[in-house]
Amino acid sequence: MELRDLYRDVILDHNRKPRNFGRVEPADAYAEGHNPLCGDRLTVSLRLAGDRVEDVRFEGKGCAISTASASLMTEAVKGKDRAAVQDLFTRMHGLLTRQDATAGPELGKLAALSGVREFPARVKCASLCWHTLNAALDRSGTSVSTE
């Protein structure tokens, strides 16, 4: 277990300077995520062009892992259609939870989060934004929880 595997430069950078921070206004979809373990909350709002995520932003106060994961996620899903987002979600879920998962090239910068699975207490920090994004795409305005 190495701290540098968790706190990689990409993650520290996205924590310090979160990309796509704020709210899409007006938004086509919006969801609030909550991690009751730590009390962290974040919101994901997005605008759709047909089936495609035209713009996506997140807002909230959280740990470095949750902030960086959300920031990286917004960069990764912008411009993708629902099916591609769903595919990324499945791959991220595998990366964060399965020891045998490997980060393929399709994950891009998201691969920086592969160290999280060595820190089981922190997996929810990284996955909260993805669950929230899913909720936003499924139904707008509802709250999700990692529990």
């Binding site: 701290l3 968790l6 706190y7 520290l12 009390g39 962290d40 740990c63 892992i65 922190r122």
Partner: protein, 417 residues
Amino acid sequence: MAAVPQQSLRSAPLDVERVRSDFPILARRVHGKPLVYLDSAASSQRPLAVLRAVEHYERELHANVHRGVHTLSQEATAAYEGARERVRRFLNARSTREIIFTRGTTESINLVAQSYARPRFGPGDEILITALEHHANIVPWQLVREQTGAKLVVAPIDRRGELRVDELDRLLGDRTRLVAVAHVSNALGTILPVERIIAAAHARGVPVLLDGAQAVPHAPVDVRALGCDFFAFSAHKMYGPTGIGVLYAREELLASMPPWQGGGDMILSVSFDRTTYNELPWKFEAGTPNMSGAVGLAAAIDYIDSLGLDAIAAHEQALLVLATDELARIPGIELIGTAAHKASVLSFVMDGIHAHDLGTILDAEGVAVRTGHHCAMPVMDFFGVPATARASFACYNTAGDVQRLVAALHKAREVFR
């Protein structure tokens, strides 16, 4: 509890190396580094004396209590009731009829909520708590509020984490039916002026419940000297096992309260028409109790007595002062909870580093602290932080532990450079 425990004349100073050798878990390594355990306010570790007492009970004495004429049942009963007497002496209660074994502080408070408050409170009645309570002293009263229409009134704290006693005085009104307050705040370490609170409440004929979970490991508690009506605590925060705790209540109050749970052991006779409840304290102990837990709690009390609570308190206060000074010198650290009178709890946030990141980095350095909201979300809201890191000190911690904490915090700063 004295405001700031003084160096005792009665107990010798702690021989902390000897104390540490009583706690086998402290020899553990975590991530290749010697464990520094600074999370005793969440749950303290157990000394060999407690582990052995529990094992002795399980290996030699166990049978169901209060039931059999056979030898083991009698020995188990003697061990269980002996533990009750040990708790009575520890609290200086009048009688073992006033000592109810529960699963812990949470269950003790729920018992009072459901058996004392619920049957007698109605719409407009007020339960007065404070802004620094643990969820265990908030949610049971919210349930009573839903059940009876009573109101929950919250006395505020100030920016140092001190109770605004003047406000509490003002909020004590004609409709106040119960005051329920922490003796010591788990999230902030604040020692509340409970003598003062009890005097103010009793002047109006209002009974007082003290949540003593964080108080009992740090200073002697004498329920008769305090004059509190209810006192709740858990064994596992005072070197005892989990799953066992105590509700102390004045006998006349308990006598006037209906049973909370029904079942075996809490009855004298049962027919389908009519059941006669058992006498105190068993009226409130339905079902087979946690005998080994009670035995472990008694052993924990014996252990604390062997060190001297005043010696423990003096040792912890010295560590608190040292750690407070050391942390104040680390740039970007803000202490949350700076009351004049504190137990050995140090809550803090670090500029630019979330408490959970701190917790992970400290853990990698072998240092165990609590991070999160400490089951006191309203306290976090008050200070405008989502979470804090909390280091808490017990009899087995050392100045070296404080140095390891400080070094780990510098490491965190390095990782987040």
